[in-house]
Each structure stands twice: as C-alpha cells, then as structure tokens.
Symmetry: D2
Subunit: 353 residues, 4 copies
C-alpha cells in the first residue's frame, strides 16, 4: 500500500506530542514535518527526549509553520493549535491542495453565531464551516473519506456523543434532560505554565470547573440535535482529577418509553444491547462492556478505544451510561489519525492497534 | 472544663486511625483505650509510626475489644468497625453506661426492613434502632446532645445531605429527580488487602462502581424523605479517583418553581444564597463559597469543613450544587468527634479547628 | 503565658502558606499581619480558601510588605521570600526592633565568598551574616534563644544535618566520602508557574536535578565542617518525585573505625544507638526508628518530625542512615515556628504537636 | 520473514501482562497460549479488558500451565512466574524442545551457593544453571542467539549493569566502592494483595526497603565481577516511589585514575563519552543523554529504552552516572522480547519501537 507524507502544525502541545507518537510508528504515513514557533531549529529528539531513539527522530527538525512549504511537504496536514489560530492555517493549506485535519474547535460548528456565542469572538474563516466534516469516524465515515477539511471532535464531546448518539437515533432515550458528568485528566488543560495546573495544585485535588457553559457544549448539542431531529440542550459538568490521561463520563438519561416493571426493564435492556451491538458491534475502537464490567480510564490509556457500559435503575426509571477514553488518543490524536486512515484509504486501524 | 475518657474500638482502619489523630490532640478528651484484634499487645506507636512521638503514644497499647473493660475505661466509646460488627458492641456498652458513637452503618437506619434490603441480612440489634440519633450535627444538634447512641453518617451521605437538606426543607427544590454524582478518594474503600485497591490499579484510574444501588442510598433517602415530608428516591453514582482523601459531589437539582428568565434566575439565586446563609451562616464547619470559587477537595483535606457552591444554568433551568469534604474527617472521624463535643458539652469546634 | 504578635512577609508561597497554617492555630502567637505584593488587598480566606473558616481569617488582609508598619505590628517577623530578597527586609526590621526568622538562604552562610560562589551574586547584607544564628533547634537551642536574626535551615540540609551531625561530632563516622541522596516532593520547587512543575510533567516521573553543585551544599558543608573541625565536602544528589510533600534522604557513610567482623558490627551498632539516643532521645521532633522500621515520608507529612533509621552493611563495611521529613514543616515552616517558640520562651512543641 | 508461536506461563502478573501487550502486536511472534492457574478458562479479554479489542483477544483463553501442551503450542515459552516456581517448568519445556525465556531470578546465577545465600533455599534445578544465558542483549547478544534457556535480567540489575559495565571493562572506574541508589515504581512489587502496596499506603509516600542485602545484589555482583575480573561488592539501596512504572538509578563511582584539575576532568569526560559511544552508540535501546539533559522515567515509560547520563563532580572527584528505564519493559517484558528477537533471528527492534 502506498504511503503519504504528513505534517503536524503545533507539535509541542500534548495533542501534538501524541500525534507525533502515533505517526512515527504508522505503517503508511511518513511524518515529513513538525512545526512549532518556540522550538523552531531544534530536532524532534531535543524537544521530546522520549522520541530521540526513533530512527526518524534525528533527521526531523521543528520549523516555523509556513503553509506554502508544508503544502509541498505533506498531503495531509494536522493542525494541533489553540482555538482561533488553526483557522488561519486551514485556508492557505487547502488552497495549496493539502488535506487538513484540525484538532482545534475552529471548524466543528456549522453555525458561526453559535461559535461567537461560545467562543466570544467572530469566526475567523466562516466560509470554511460548510466544507468541514465533523470527524467522528463511527458516525461520518463516508463523509470523512471525501473531506478536504476534517474537524476532529473534542475530547469531552467524543466521550458523550459515542454513547448517546445511537440511543437518540433509535429513539430509545428522550432528547430532553440529558446530563453528562465528566472527569478529565490534567493533560486536558494543555501544556500551559499556569499555577492552576502545577503538580501540587492538582495532586490530591478533585474539582469542577467551567460550569455551567463549557465551550464543548456547542459541538455536543449541534451533533445531538442533528441526530435527534429536535433541539437538544444538555447539562454538562467537567471536573479535573489527578491523572495524566483519561476521561470518564457518566450520563444520566431518560428511557424513551418508561419501563414500568422488572419485565419491562429486561426488555428495555435487551433493546439497548441490540442498539449498541448494531451501532458498534463491528467497530474496532468501541468496547461494549459485558457482565459486571464498568469503564475504567486505565484500561483505555494510550489506546484509541472508548469503553461503554450501561445500567438501568429500576428505582428511578433512569438509564445510566458510562464511557472511558484517553483524552489524548480517542479524544484527540488517535481519532485524528483514524480520520486520516479513512481519508487516505488506509486500513482504519493502521497505526492504532 | 472537665475532660472525658474516650476509647476507640477498631482503631486500625483508616477511620479509626483518623479518630486517633483527632483525639490525641483533643483539649478535653483523653484517649484511654484503643482496640484491635490483629494488633492487640502492640503499642500505638508500633502500629502507627506517625503517632509515635506523641506523649501519649508509648503508654497506649492496643487491646482486645472487651466491652466490660472498655465501659470502665471510657465515658464515650467510638466504634470504627465494619458494618454488622458494630451492633454487637453497642448493646453491652450502652448497658454498662457508656455513650456510644458508631461510625458504621449499623444504626443509621430507622427501618430494619430497609436495612435488610440494602445490607442483605437481618439487623443484628433492631431494638436499638429507635434509640440511635443520626449524627449530622448541623441538623440534629439537640438530639445528639441527649443521645446515648449516635449513628455517625456515612461519607457520601454527608456530602449529599448537607447541601440538599436546607433547599428541600425550604421548598426551593423539587424532591424528585435528584441526581448525586460523587468522586471518592481510595481511603473510602478501607484498609483492605484487595487487588482492586493496589496502587497500580488505582493510580491513573477513574471508575464508577456500586451502581445503581449503593448501600449509602438507604440513609440518604431516609433523611431526605424525612425532610421533604414525601418519599424521596435519588440517583447516586459513586466513582473512585486516585487521591488519598476527599469526596467531591455534584448534585443536579430542579428548582421548586422554575425560573423563566434572567430576572427570575437572579431572584432565585438570591433565595438560594439566603437559604444557605440561614442554614449555615454560623456553622463553623460549612464553607459557603462566594464569587467564582468552586469546591476543591484539596482545600478541605485534613479538616472537618465541607465546602458548598451552587450555580444556576439558564440554558437548562437546572440548579447545580457542588460539595467537597474529607471523607475521613467530615465524612467519618471528624464528624464523630463533633458529635462527641456536643454530647459532652465541649465547644463544638474543640480539637477540630 | 503571654502571647506575641507575629507577621509573615511573603505569605503566598508554599512555605508561607504552611507558616499561616501553623501560626493560625498556635496557642501563644497571634498572626497579626500577612503580606504579599500580588495579593495585597485580598483577605486571607480569599487567597487560601482552606483557611477561610478560621475565626481569624476574614479579618486578616494581605498587605504590601512595608517594614516600618510590620515592625509596629509584630515582635517576630517571618520572611518567606526568595533568596536575595529576604536580606532587604531583615535590616530595617531589626533596626526597628523586630526579631526576624528568615526561611530563605540569605543568612545561612557565615562566609560571603561562599555565598557568592553558590548563589552567583554578592551578598546583599554581609554585615548581618555574623549576627544570624543557623536555626537548627536540636543543635543551637541556646543561640536561637538569644538571637535577633534566625536563619532557618533549608529542607535538604535539615534532612542531612540532623542524621549526620551527632555521628560526626562523636567521631563515629569519617568526615570524608559522605554521600547524600535525596528525594523531594514537588512543593520543594515552590509555587512557580513553570512547565517543569506542571502535573503532567511531574506525575509518573522521577528525575535528578541540580547536580553536582546544588546551592544547599554550601550550608550543609558549613555546618558539617564546623562540627567535624575539618573541611567536609560531600556528594549530594537531589531528585524530584511525584508527592506533594516530603524529603527522603539516604546517606552513605564510612564508620570512623571499620568493623571487621560480626561482633564488631554489633558493638558499633550499639555505639550508634547510644549516640543517637544521647543526641535525640529527648527531642520531641526526632523519631529514632527501632526494629525493622524504616523512614517513610507519609509518616511525617504534616508534622514537624524527622524520622531517622540506620543499618550497617557487613558486606561493604558501610553505614547507611536514612531520614524522612516534611519539607514544608520540619524543612521550612515548622522548624521556623520551633525557633520562634525557643526565642519567645514558649514551650518548644507549642502549636507543633 | 517467518513467524514463531510463543506462549506465556503466568500471564496474570504485571510482567506477564506487559509481555501480552508486546507480543500481541509483535510482527513475527504469534501469541499462541497464555496460562494462569487462577484465570484458567477465562478469555484474555475477560482478565484484561484493555486487550479485549485486539483481534486475537477473544480467541485466546487462559489455560492451566501444562508443559507438554505448551511445548507443542510454542517454539518459545516465556516464564513470568515467582522465584522458585519457574525452575519447575523450565526443565520439561527444554526437554520437549521449546526454547525458554525466564523472567524470574531462577536461572540468573551461575553459583547455586550464592542462590541459596540470597534466596534462602536450595536451587530447584541446579544442573540447568550452566546452560542458562544471562539475557542482557547489549552484553551477550551472541550467546543469547544460541541459547535454549535465557535468564532475563532483573529490573534493578538492568538499570545498574548497563551504565556500569562498559566503564568497568574499560577500566575507567574502580571496581570498589560502587553505590547504586534506586527508585522504583510500585509495579515492581508485583500484583500482590498486600497492605503495603495499597494505593493509600504508597501514594504520598517515599521509602527505602530491603536493605542492606536485596536479592538482586547477587546477579548484579556476579555480572560486575565477571566484567571486572575481580570480586565486586556494591552498595545497593532500593526505594519505592508513587509511580506505576519506572526505575531511576543514581550511581556513585570512583574514576579509575583520579582527575586532579579542570583539564583532567575535561579529558576524563571525553574518555567517558567515547567509552559509552563505543559501547552503545549503535544500540537501539540505549539513549545517551547530551547537553543538560538528565534521565527521567516519564521519558522511557512504555518503551524498551534505557536513558543514561553522567556528571563529574570536581569538588569530590567522583563520577555520578544516572539511568532511567521502565521496570516492566526494559526491566522485564521488553528485554525478554528483545532476547526472543535475537534468539529467533528477527530484527532486534521488532515489536519494540
């Protein structure tokens, strides 16, 4: 199978570093360029000692992010940049013929008014919004295959959308009253020199933040609304917990048709199992837990897998769905590589299993 | 002020150890005896090196838990024993004239059928259930003062009841649809040699457990129901996260009267603030957070304080209340000492601030 | 017993915060002022939510560090400032009649040339060097009692000097070839917004740093040399490990007179035990471990205690001595309060046990 | 290139689990069998959810460890068993024609008297000691290639031998007075349900253990002695620190010929660099750090790389060498796979980079 050259713009944050890790070992992608303003001129191994022993490491030097050069070097360019910055790079890269996979939030929303509402400023490249495909492979494989611009989903959204979408589409849950309670590892805050993310401030700490209107709500609700065919507004509470990687999401959902007795619960449970099996039974990166197993971030750390389990509570009539993923892999770099595999015609699991 | 002699039965678990720490430095209580079957014969300092420099340490030896001896040694006896075991000790100690503060779940429920439903066996001393006072000082100060037997609340229940009860009593929230999502440090699982609680299994891990019917639900619902005057059934999801101490609870509540616009939200917010100020404004161990502050377990670790904050979400019409406590202090040993202070007529903050 | 007013200059770093914790609950010291340039105007509880429930908290506001005002407010002023900054404050405070306990390295060295060699700049107040007492209470109690200016020892030096000094003075070890290998919690790096101390960079990491010439060597060698009566030069390797608090030091020492057989080892072991018992048998904050016990930072965290244990290795003829302390308590704030207790004539353990 | 079938006996401990991870993704090895007494009958994915999505997972069931069956299933059998148990399996497997890679200490020593001295019982299969090759690939590549029985080195020995051996062979350091001070992650203690390794007992803890005569000393000294041509006895102090994976070793060494001035230090430093470059310049799994870089366990976690750095201390005349490795990879499973690659004629980095 042929290989493609790929490049990463902004390879010095945690998502960028994870992309480097995945792409260095990818059987069909050749990491041709990495950029970083602050590290320009340094070799990959100098910035990330952990990669210094890789055969490609010494020959790979960080450069300034120059789109005209990148477009010549790589058929696919990953943007691992802060919100608002990625948009500047996407347009010239697309014009120059590169395909772009953006890990920021810049192209995830279809509606620029919603963008402004949640991100606080005008969208920097609104004409591209229509062209971007929301890169959740399990849901939009065919669109990703043809896309020039993939907006790779956020870490929290992935942990919420994959468990909820099939149930919503099948009408097994009500579109109203959804609550998502999420726990994230500290890498989710990015590699930023701020007091709040110092070891001593995070270790032995658990704390909510960004409530009640976290930015990721905009893309979550956009996708849920599209799936439900009716406006969906959810409750979302993120928390920081002292792990490097991982998101654990607990979802509180109302069954579409209430179950009224034990037999009803059993029947509903079977419908849920069938729905998930149909949606994900053949998905390589979704693990539907059986028996007494419940999601645990340590079982997905470093992998592109999302774990999903569910329980019915006969006391309250509610459905509890839980998911676990690695925020830097399925929630960022791994999912982006999965999109690249689809887009380039590689096996979808290449470099990811 | 006079002092009392106190004893701890089962002083080798995490709650018992925390009681030792608090009572060794208490200005009015004299720790007269500590018991532990497996450590009988060893000095306090041998079992817990951290206490070895305390003046009392070398003279204090672990003994077998013999009720007749304990009753002679101590006016107040703390039981820090597993569920089902504490009940055996309570009756003889009470007969012998000791006052008993039990940290297990044995005397927290009023209804022995509920006990059997949640704990899986008949209650070992049902005749004592009526005599026990549920020892949540902020709610039952007067009853605790006169009690012979105090059932000190569980760690999760404390983190849920203190934020919810005033709102429920005031009618500010609906009694239905309450969801409590809690994160607990690993000490909550007790000092048990089980694979699930090994460092490597807990570090870099976040996981739900015990759903949907955790045992603590029984006492939470009993107290909420009593306060609401109507049956309250809640949703409760506990999670384990890699910290030693701390519980962070996020509560999803429905306002009693929905707020329909921004002005309504402001008015409701003021009602909430007034309600909490009335309930806890003078409570030494409740910290109502102001401004942008949110609860953080690191700010309560090692203290008897519970932090509470709340937010209204105008998008969903829901009220989010969050609390943080140290599961071993306000959730166990500290709260028990607070009850002792009340019961013995000491200043309520003695030894706790 | 009378009380003194005390003040803390630079109360927003980790050592300053620990001083606040200890002094708020001190039976004889009244915390009269806290200063911090960046927090001036905010109340203690706003900056440190963990102290917000303390009765003194709401009335205590951070101010600019103005020496003339501080000298009126407090008989004893603690300086918890970076190296080189503390010296500016000491002189005017001393002139105004305050007694000063400095937690920085500014007054620990007697020789300004050594200061320049290790700290890279001229000493800012060389005339004060002679007046300062190196505040290791177990060694210099009488001098501290009379001192106007106490230079409280560094965290690493305390963990090395207390185990080594008695052996050196007694001639039980050779003054040459001493190796100190230390592990420190991340709080030792201070509350600084630098990438190296982010949670993700420290968690799941162990790393040496600052070798081979860490600044603390200067004071360690000054004190060892004074005790030995001959120049002592040691090897010192600090490491960072992912705990909030704690220093664990392992010392490799050569017996003064080599033991040549098992009987010799037993005899030497008894000499060691006698030497330590004489030096520290009555010290409230030194715990000499017996039997199979070895130091563990978790047993000293939050306390002013240093644990010491030793082992002879008959295979190599070497003596291994190990110590554990809390770098923020015995290694910083606690030791400073211990000095204050001595200096003010309070019981030495007041507020510390 | 052809593939081989491989099996793992004792695949449920941490080393065994790591072997599973590496072998599932190995390009030339087919994991044909996994055994575990306690898990017999369960699928790989049931025991280790993290592997459940691997294509091989559902078809791979844990079995009882029956040597005759294993020998038919696999050309290479890995033993990941406790000390003393591995020896029982090696003999029948070898007789049946399998090649054996043992991760325990059973075949690392040449001298059964030394085994008895350090392990406390007679060696269970002394006739095999001569046949086993000490599987440190960087040192014994040719022997491993021909070996029927490979004794894969311990985690601590690897972290000490790789940095020290080249210097010793080249005469750059004295064979006497070597000190190795090591920090290990908690997985080094194995997956054992013991109180000492509970999360709460290890988190926020740093502690030495097993001094002064840790069992690994026997193999370290055997290999150092063989390299030096004279008896080498070293000082070794292991410590436990709260990370899952990783060993950080700091070595204190005496230069063979003392350097007496700055010029001598520069010259010696160049000799050291040349020695390491010659020994490891082409080794894929040794990273010689340059410039100001120092080893950090987070940079080797999950990889088969060992990092090495060195510093001369002109103040003491000593050489400090530091290494970092993942105790479960280069210190266990990864190194064993590296030996398998050599033994089977696969590229040495296959499945490891």
């Amino acid at each position: 199978m042929k290989s493609n050259n790929v490049a990463i713009v902004g390879a010095s944050g945690y998502s960028g570093e994870e992309l480097v890790r995945l792409l260095l070992n990818h059987p069909h992608a050749e990491l041709a360029a990495v950029t970083s303003r602050q590290n320009a001129g340094l070799s990959l191994g100098q910035v990330f000692p952990k990669f210094a022993n890789h055969p490609r490491s010494k020959a790979l030097f960080f450069t300034e992010p120059r789109t005209e050069i990148l477009a010549r070097q790589a058929e696919v360019v990953f943007l691992a940049l802060p919100h608002g910055v990625a948009a500047e790079y996407a347009a010239p890269l697309l014009r120059a013929g590169s395909r772009v996979i953006d890990l920021s939030a810049d192209f995830r929303l279809k509606n620029e008014a919603v963008y402004k509402d949640f991100y606080g400023h005008d969208h920097p490249a609104p004409d591209l919004l229509d062209k971007a495909v929301y890169g959740l492979p399990e849901m939009r494989r065919a669109e990703i295959k043809k896309a020039a611009l993939v907006a790779s989903p956020g870490c929290y959204p992935t942990s919420i959308l994959l468990p909820v979408l099939p149930l919503l589409v099948a009408g097994l849950i009500k579109p109203s009253g959804i609550i998502a309670d999420s726990l994230s590892g500290i890498s989710g805050a990015g590699r930023k020199a701020e007091l709040d993310y110092l070891f001593v401030e995070c270790n032995e700490s658990a704390r909510p933040y960004g409530i009640p209107k976290h930015r990721h709500l905009s893309e979550i609700e956009q996708e849920l609304t599209a799936a439900a065919g009716t406006q969906v507004t959810i409750q979302f509470t993120p928390h920081l917990i002292p792990v490097n990687r991982g998101i654990l999401t607990t979802l509180y959902l109302s069954p579409g048709a209430p179950f009224t007795d034990a037999a009803g619960a059993v029947a509903f449970s079977e419908e849920l199992a069938a729905c998930y099996a149909k949606a994900y039974g053949n998905e390589p990166f979704v693990r539907l837990l059986e028996g007494s197993a419940l999601p645990d971030t340590k079982n997905v750390a470093g992998t592109n897998v999302i774990e999903i389990a569910w329980r019915l509570d006969p006391r309250t009539g509610r459905l509890i769905v839980m998911s676990a993923e690695d925020n830097l892999v399925k929630g960022a770099g791994g999912q982006a590589v999965q999109s690249m595999n689809i887009l380039c015609g590689f096996p979808e699991t290449a470099g990811l299993i």
